[in-house]
């Protein structure tokens, strides 16, 4: 019940991040995996903003800006790839995308 300290935000960020990791590891749907990655990025953004606020520096905001941009670009390309793969394999089960086996 005290003032919100930065630790709370960081904890929240950690929890969200972990959930994102779990999503990456546990879900088989490739789209879901992407989304979990997005969640991880968002959690990192939260931590960055929290720190920026804590120290009064807006460098953290800039970093977040970049992260968002890169994430967007990554999602675009990644989903495009996914679509292409789906076209050939008719499946987006990442367990079936095992070309790197062995």
């Amino acid at each position: 019940m005290g003032a919100i300290q930065i630790e709370h935000y960081l904890m929240l960020s950690a929890v969200l991040f972990t959930l994102g990791v779990l999503g990456v590891l546990l879900r088989r749907n490739a789209i879901l995996v992407f989304m979990s990655v997005e969640l991880m990025l968002n959690a990192a953004n939260l931590a960055l903003v929290a720190f920026a606020r804590h120290w009064g520096q807006s460098d953290g905001h800039v970093f977040v800006f970049f992260v968002v941009t890169v994430a967007a670009a990554e999602v675009a390309v990644g989903l495009a790839l996914l679509v292409t793969i789906f076209r050939t394999r008719q499946s987006i089960n990442i367990d079936e995308l095992r070309m790197m086996e062995g």
Binding site: V24, L25, V33, I94, D95, R98, M100, G102
Partner: protein
């Protein structure tokens, strides 16, 4: 001025060429030519020897040293002061020997052509014969001890090769022959040890092995003209007195005009020295320095801290030399090889073991007369050994059945005469007897060969009626017939007249019957022995004389026994009845040698006996040898002693005739006439027949322990211990065990295991690791996450520690 003396190397070269030609080209030459080639080589050597004789005569009997062409020095080490060269010494003594060797040698070569026809190894035989001549001539023409030793060993080698010539005979005969060859070689070796020790001592003391330095005079007294035994010199006793004067005159350095010195001084040739004054003591040869040593001018060198007196050193040297002579010349106690050496072909026995090789010891002692003359103790020993040998061998000879064995023991006996002569200081007498003995002993051996040949022929003629197996060893036949056994002979006088005649001459010459050669030479020895006893009152003289007389009687006895058994009476076997006379190649040498045996005595005819000296010249040999032999003296003729000896010989012959004559020699049971009595004489005869058990004694005392020791070393130590245990069990098994250990547990187990294990480990690891490459992205992501977690933890750990 080139004289025949420069041709001296040819005397060695011709037989050497013959040897090489027969060795390499003999097979192609064929038997016919090989034999004649060898004989030709020997004859050429004889011709060269004659030329050398002529040249020496012209040279005034001065010694000539000739370097061997193409060969320089054998040893030439200036820092060690060691210079030993290949120098030929052409002087009267060596030329004497050369003539005997090559003359008798070529006759025997001729004989051997006939004797060895049909033998499969014909060519090899003549190669070996020529090789023997080479070595023998090296021996007699050497100017230093080492070169003489080369010849010494070389003739020993050839003796070995030739005794064991039929080493490949079947039925154990080959073993018998090779055993005999080995025995000869090894027994000779014992003697050679003595010669080597003498050489070491000589070199130690005198610093050189040369007999004489190039310009050295061997016999100063003779060179300076103090002694000449010319026709007008009534010198029998005076000769000896003159000898005594010589010794005094020598010290006074008396230069008299001698014809020798005159002749050369005028003609512009290099000045002939009559003394050795121009040479410092250390520049002289062995004998020159020895004289100085004896005269006290040369100090004795200490050997290993021991300094002997001059006489002691000389005695030691001469004792060692004597040992060498004992070995080579078959004296007691090293004579046992000579009878066994009869296993070789008869020409070999004739040449080597009668005429030449065995006389090398005598020659060597005569060469070293300077030393022997001064060593009284040694001379005594020499005389006793010689006389004892003469008697012992003579005794054994009368109990032998084998025709060649009788002659072998006879040879030993006669060698004993020569050695005894050296012992009593009669150097010329020894050489004289050497020469005459060569004649008649070679004659006897060749004759026996002819007899054996004939009996063989007869045997084959009677029994086989197919091709005659000529030339093979005749001692063993499948049916046990021994053609050398005198019991199978008899009555051959009629069948082989020429052989009989020449054999008779040889026998009488050997027995010392007047006027044949042996009479004169034997008598000279006896006279000198008597002289030594009478005039110098030495015990050795009397002793020697007695023993030698007994031996002479024995000689006559057993030789006549042999004649009776072989030629007289009736043939005791069919073979003997059918024996033919031998071919002319065999009989011609017999005739020649017979003539030599008759006339040989005139080589050294004593002065004033029957006027023979006017016909043949008195003391020719003595004069001849005097130039070289320092202590040569003219032998005297003691009439009563000669008569005594002759009488003893005649008595012996007559008694032999009575015992063995008319075919009584052998009883029906094959026993000897003397054997049959059953009394003391029979016992003695048995003893003689068993050769005094000498070989058995040696076998017992020396051979058996030695062989046991050798067997022990060979079997137990070498074979059982070293080979089986150390080598096989320890080394090989150990090595194999170690190798096996290294190979199996270590290499295959550890190393391979490690290597393979590593491979297997990697394979299993990789198999396990491969499973991580599942291709599942999620698994990779998990791995990433785990890694990140780990890194985070590691990063935060230090902070956790400090920050709390």
């Amino acid at each position: 001025m080139v004289t025949f003396l420069d041709w001296a190397p040819l005397v060695i070269l011709f037989p050497l060429l013959g040897f090489i030609a027969n060795l390499f080209g003999g097979a192609r030459l064929g038997r016919r030519y090989a034999g004649w080639l060898a004989t030709g080589a020997a004859a050429l050597a004889f011709v060269v020897s004659l030329l050398l004789l002529v040249a020496l005569r012209e040279n005034g009997y001065q010694a000539h040293l000739q370097d061997f062409p193409l060969l320089g020095h054998w040893f030439d080490i200036p820092t060690a002061n060691l210079r030993i060269g290949w120098q030929l010494r052409v002087d009267t003594l060596s030329v004497t020997m050369m003539l005997v060797v090559t003359g008798v040698g070529s006759l025997i070569h001729l004989y051997a052509i006939g004797y060895m026809t049909g033998d499969s190894a014909f060519v090899r035989f003549f190669a070996y014969l020529n090789l023997f001549l080479v070595f023998m001539l090296v021996l007699v023409s050497a100017n230093n001890f080492l070169m003489m030793f080369v010849g010494w060993e070389g003739v020993g080698l050839c003796s070995y090769l030739l005794i064991g010539f039929w080493w490949d005979q079947r039925g154990g005969e080959g073993w018998r022959n090779s055993n005999a060859a080995r025995k000869a070689f090894i027994v000779n070796r014992v003697g050679d040890f003595g010669l080597l020790m003498a050489m070491f001592l000589i070199f130690w003391q005198f610093g050189t092995l040369d007999f004489y330095a190039p310009t050295e005079v061997a016999n100063v007294a003779w060179a300076s003209g103090a002694t000449h035994h010319s026709a007008d010199d009534h010198a029998t006793d005076d000769g000896h007195a003159a000898d005594a004067n010589e010794d005094e005159h020598e010290a006074a350095d008396d230069h008299t005009d001698s014809p020798a010195s005159d002749a050369h001084g005028e003609s512009g040739a290099p000045a002939v020295h009559t003394t050795n004054e121009h040479l410092a003591t250390h520049e002289r040869g062995v004998f020159g320095q020895a004289e100085a040593l004896i005269a006290g001018e040369l100090p004795v060198r200490a050997f290993a801290g021991v300094r002997l007196s001059a006489e002691g050193l000389v005695t030691l040297i001469t004792l060692f030399l004597l040992l060498g002579a004992i070995g080579k010349s078959a004296q007691i106690p090293l004579f046992v090889w000579l009878p066994d050496a009869m296993a070789g072909p008869t020409p070999v026995s004739a040449l080597i073991h009668a005429a030449t090789m065995v006389t090398a010891g005598v020659y060597m002692m005569v060469r070293a007369d300077v030393l022997f003359y001064e060593a009284a103790v040694t001379s005594f020993v020499v005389a006793i050994i010689g006389a004892a040998t003469a008697l012992t061998a003579g005794f054994i000879a009368l109990g032998q059945w084998d025709i060649k064995r009788v002659l072998a023991y006879s040879t030993i006996s006669q060698l004993g005469f020569m050695v005894a002569a050296v012992g009593v200081g009669a150097y010329v007498a020894a050489m004289f007897h050497l020469v005459t003995h060569a004649f008649f002993k070679a004659l006897l051996f060749l004759g026996s060969g002819s007899v054996i040949h004939g009996v063989e022929h007869g045997h084959h003629h009677v029994h086989d009626a197919h091709g005659v197996h000529e030339g093979e060893s005749t001692s063993h036949h499948e049916d046990g017939f021994d053609p050398q056994d005198m019991r199978n002979m008899g009555g051959l006088a009629a069948r082989m007249p020429l052989t009989y005649l020449t054999y008779l001459i040889g026998t009488l010459a050997l027995a010392g019957v007047f006027p044949l050669a042996g009479f004169w030479s034997k008598d000279e020895i006896l006279a000198d022995a008597w002289r030594l006893g009478i005039e110098k009152a030495e015990l050795s003289g009397y002793l020697t004389l007695g023993l030698l007389l007994a031996a002479a009687a024995m000689t006559a006895f057993y030789m006549w026994r042999q004649v009776e058994l072989v030629f007289h009476g009736r043939a005791r076997s069919e073979a003997a009845a059918a024996a033919p006379e031998s071919a002319y190649t065999m009989t011609v040498p017999l005739l020649i040698l017979a003539v030599a045996s008759v006339l040989g005595g005139m080589l050294n005819a004593p002065h004033g006996v029957l006027g023979l000296d006017r016909l043949f010249g008195a003391h020719s040999l003595t004069n001849f040898l005097e130039a070289t032999v320092r202590h040569a003296h003219a032998g005297s003729f003691v009439f009563w002693l000669a008569a005594l000896a002759l009488g003893l010989a005649v008595l012996a012959i007559l008694s032999a005739r009575s015992i063995y004559g008319q075919g009584r020699g052998v009883s029906e049971t094959g026993e000897d006439a003397l054997q049959a009595n059953g009394n003391l004489i029979s016992w003695f005869w048995q003893l003689a027949n068993r050769r005094l058990f000498w070989d058995e004694f040696y076998e017992c005392v020396f051979l058996r322990p030695y062989q046991a020791l050798a067997r022990f070393f060979a079997q137990t130590i070498d074979w059982d211990f070293w080979h089986n245990y150390v080598h096989d069990d320890v080394l090989r098994a150990g090595f194999n065990a170690a190798g096996g250990f290294l190979a199996r547990p270590v290499d295959m187990g550890l190393v391979d295991g490690a290597v393979n294990g590593v491979a297997r480990l990697i394979q299993s690891l990789s198999a396990r690791l491969r499973r991580t490459q599942s291709g599942y992205v999620r698994a990779y992501a998990l791995a990433l996450f785990l890694g990140t977690l780990l890194i985070v933890i590691l990063m935060l750990l230090p902070l956790a520690g400090s920050g709390g």
